[in-house]
């Protein structure tokens, strides 16, 4: 991986008293390659390499007996710093009725994640209600219903209803009626350039005023990740994001890009198709995965 490549470069430094500018350049090329291969946003890579270059010309590296390892350490620390310095707790409403809404592009794992969230909250002693306001995808409501039954969590669906806003409002009433303390709202996948669908999203948000707005992001997403996050953030003010499918071998560079460019924190990660495959995220683990 990257660490071994960087150490290779500096191994040939043995006998040299200090890193040259060319040595640093060679290392930065490897870092840039690793990050772009990991789908980190082009601009984020540029800024990251510039920051690390500056640090690598500093006292600590220059005076070190193992400059290569120092650079690896700097890269790792910088990544963890960007990824990790955040509050990854889910917001809870002071009213005692918390509404969590999930958004994202098509197929990223929103419906599956909704069920995972519900199970997690249930295990924490909460009383969640699941609802689907996806009035577009065939059998979307059924999919959520099946998952809800698997985890023995109540669900509210309206398979024939065409208005997402209507279902959302009814689900709120349903949740309060059932004395639930959390409503998890699964929305339809959508393209951020689909203005009609973005309007629907804004309408749903305005109607139920979510406590926690979560963007669901697929680990394999490429360079568009930042634009997607920015677009959703501008439309609906994202509180956090969840990265899914981290059980694959996609490096997940989008996590770094989104965090760096929007400040939105990563709250959880999904690591499989089963409802149990859900964890808190560890910045150090994600950092080493991104570096490869």
């Amino acid at each position: 991986g990257l660490s071994s490549k960087l150490t290779d470069i500096t191994t040939r430094l043995r006998g040299k008293s200090r890193l040259t500018d060319q040595d640093i350049k060679d290392m930065m090329r490897e870092i840039r390659l690793a990050l772009l291969e990991a789908d980190v946003n082009y601009q984020v890579v540029k800024e990251f390499v510039a920051d690390v270059t500056e640090k690598s010309r500093g006292e600590a590296v220059m005076k070190s007996l193992t400059p290569g390892q120092m650079v690896v350490k700097i890269v790792n620390e910088k990544l963890v710093e960007i990824l990790g310095e955040s509050e990854s707790k889910l917001n809870v409403s002071p009213t005692g009725f918390t509404i969590i809404m999930l958004y994202g592009l098509q197929g990223v794992g929103k419906t599956t994640t909704a069920a995972k969230l519900a199970l997690m909250l249930k295990k924490q002693g909460k009383k969640p209600l699941l609802t689907s306001v996806d009035v577009h995808r065939p059998a979307a409501a059924k999919q959520l219903a099946v998952l809800a039954e698997q985890i023995d969590v109540p669900h509210y669906i309206r398979p024939e209803e065409k208005s997402a806003v209507k279902i959302a409002k009814e689900a709120v009433e349903r949740g309060k009626y059932l004395l639930c303390d959390t409503l998890i709202v699964d929305t339809a996948g959508r393209m951020t350039i689909d203005q009609e669908m973005m309007d629907e999203l804004i309408e749903i948000g305005d109607a139920v005023n979510p406590t926690e707005r979560l963007l669901i992001v697929d680990a394999m997403i490429g360079q568009e990740a930042v634009n997607v996050a920015i677009a959703f953030n501008e439309a609906i003010a994202i509180d956090g994001f969840i990265m899914t499918k981290l059980d694959g071998d996609a490096r997940g560079g989008a996590a770094l890009s989104i965090r760096k460019m929007t400040g939105i924190p990563i709250k959880m990660i999904a690591t499989g198709e089963r409802v149990e495959d859900f964890e808190a995220f560890h910045p150090d683990r994600l950092a080493s995965r991104i570096l490869g």
Binding site: V146, M191, G222
Partner: protein, 275 residues
Amino acid sequence: AANLGIFDEDTLDDLEMILISADCGLSASTHLTSVVREDMLKTGDYRKEHVLGILAGEMRAMLSDGRIDLQDGLNVILMIGVNGTGKTTTSGKLAYRYKNQGKKVMLAAADTFRAAAIDQLKVWGERAGVPVLAHAPGADPAAVTFDALQASKARGVDVLILDTAGRLHNKKNLMEELAKINRIIGREAPTANVYSLLVLDATTGQNAVKQAEAFAEVADINGIVLAKLDGNAKGGVALAVTEATDAPVVLAGLGEGIEDLEDFNADLFVRSLLP
């Protein structure tokens, strides 16, 4: 400055950024930029139209495209790919297309694992006017495959579209399950024209290459579908994918409706990648 219609070192840097931002990947983007640079040095022609022409030509050379060629008798289209890319939706769109071409079509619900996967495909079958062969949820996908092939042969089906479960390519057991489905097809329908379609999500980054390579090992990819090309993502990774697998991109998914499927247009695709 490209806005004067002239390319220079700055525009070449911009070019690399544009290509990387379109998910072409560092290797392809560097290659394309150096091809352009070499030509500019050799011909001395720095005009924008000339440079973009060279770029488009090289991209076009890297990309393989094609069409699904149906043959007489049974055609089995095997839909494969990682989770959530658009296999089931594309199955519905394809069923509709071939039904409208007067073919006898059948859909088979070989995703017996995911919640409501069978229900989802059944809705598409209704929309396309095509029967859906399905077992109960949790059934063996191999059994569904077997039944679908028998039914297709018995009913004189022209096109059998086998929708499989999403599977991450690094999961050995799931890839083995796919290899088994493939073996069953080869055993039960040895004279059928088998067309294995890998469905890629156009928003995917460099992992698409790993996906394609892994799937090619177990199911011989005949064609690629670039789904969700109606979004912002350019799908530039298709260049690296076709280079790595020799499989042509044959279809573009351009939306969530049953008619949102088009033959892949390589020239249009390349043009969308150009600055």
